[in-house]
């Protein structure tokens, strides 16, 4: 019962953060709302007993992603964002997304899924599986990170200075 109350509080934080991202006029407020939504996701991870993923979420999303987005907001001009919030077809897209939500909720409520009580994944089993059975995809993911690092540097390098 107490976990249900905590779940409702956390999901209220997540949903208000998400709504703040799409409805706030100032870009800085949108970035901070995104921060609250991501921290709320970490709270849901904690509530479902996945504490390692919660730590990863706080470190990567709360630390790195929000900082990178704030840097991008700083390095591009703020005046650019004033008049770009809405297009004139916004009722159409609102109807479209609400229709998608209705279809998803009807599908969720009508599907019978065999559930069980909340069960925790042991951290030792998780890391054994991650580094043994999923070892090669893990290494490929690190290779993808290296390629993205080099790619970002190459994209942002000034072309007229070399050669």
């Amino acid at each position: 019962m107490i976990s249900l109350i905590i779940f409702y509080i956390i999901s209220a934080i997540v949903l208000f953060g998400s709504l703040g991202v799409i409805f706030s006029r100032n870009m800085m407020y949108a970035a901070f709302s995104l921060f609250f939504a991501l921290l709320g996701t970490a709270g849901i991870f904690v509530l479902l007993l996945a504490e390692f993923l919660a730590i990863v979420q706080v470190l990567i999303y709360g630390g790195a992603v929000v900082t990178v987005i704030l840097f991008a907001l700083m390095l591009t001009k703020i005046d650019d964002f004033r008049n770009l919030s809405n297009i004139k077809y916004w009722p159409l897209s609102a109807v479209l997304s609400i229709l998608t939500l209705l279809i998803l909720i009807i599908g969720i409520l009508q599907t019978q899924i065999n559930t069980q009580k909340l069960k925790l994944v042991n951290f030792t089993d998780f890391s054994n599986d991650l580094f043994q059975y999923w070892g090669i995809p893990f290494e490929i993911a690190s290779l993808v990170l290296l390629v993205a690092l080099i790619g970002a540097i190459v994209i942002l390098k000034d072309r007229e200075n070399d050669s």
Partner: protein
């Protein structure tokens, strides 16, 4: 107690908010933020199924491993997209995606 349906509905609402933002907004950085919202909705769905469905232990661990990979790919995509946005801002001094039509026709 929390059930799977609660987690699924929260994930669906968050995903549709992300869809609305991606369609409506015209600033490229805001579209990136909405894509991050959608990826987080998918992560919530994965963790819900991994915690509540009657899977075996290895399938349950697969859900957690998949979340690690999704977070990695989201970070990669964000870094590259912000590099492209900064380069476009340097070249065209705008991040409005309606004005970025270099590859049109």
């Amino acid at each position: 107690m929390i059930e799977l349906v609660h987690i699924q509905i929260l994930s669906a609402i968050m995903f549709c908010i992300g869809i609305y933002g991606v369609i409506t907004r015209r600033s490229a950085i805001l579209i990136l933020m909405c894509i991050e919202l959608m990826l987080n909705a998918i992560n919530i769905n994965f963790i819900g199924f991994a915690a509540f469905r009657d899977f075996s232990q290895s399938q349950r661990i697969f859900g957690h491993v998949m979340i690690v990979f999704i977070i990695t790919i989201a970070a990669v995509e964000l870094a590259l997209a912000i590099a492209i946005i900064l380069r476009l801002h340097k070249n065209k001094s705008s991040v409005n995606i309606d004005e970025i039509d270099l590859m049109k026709w």
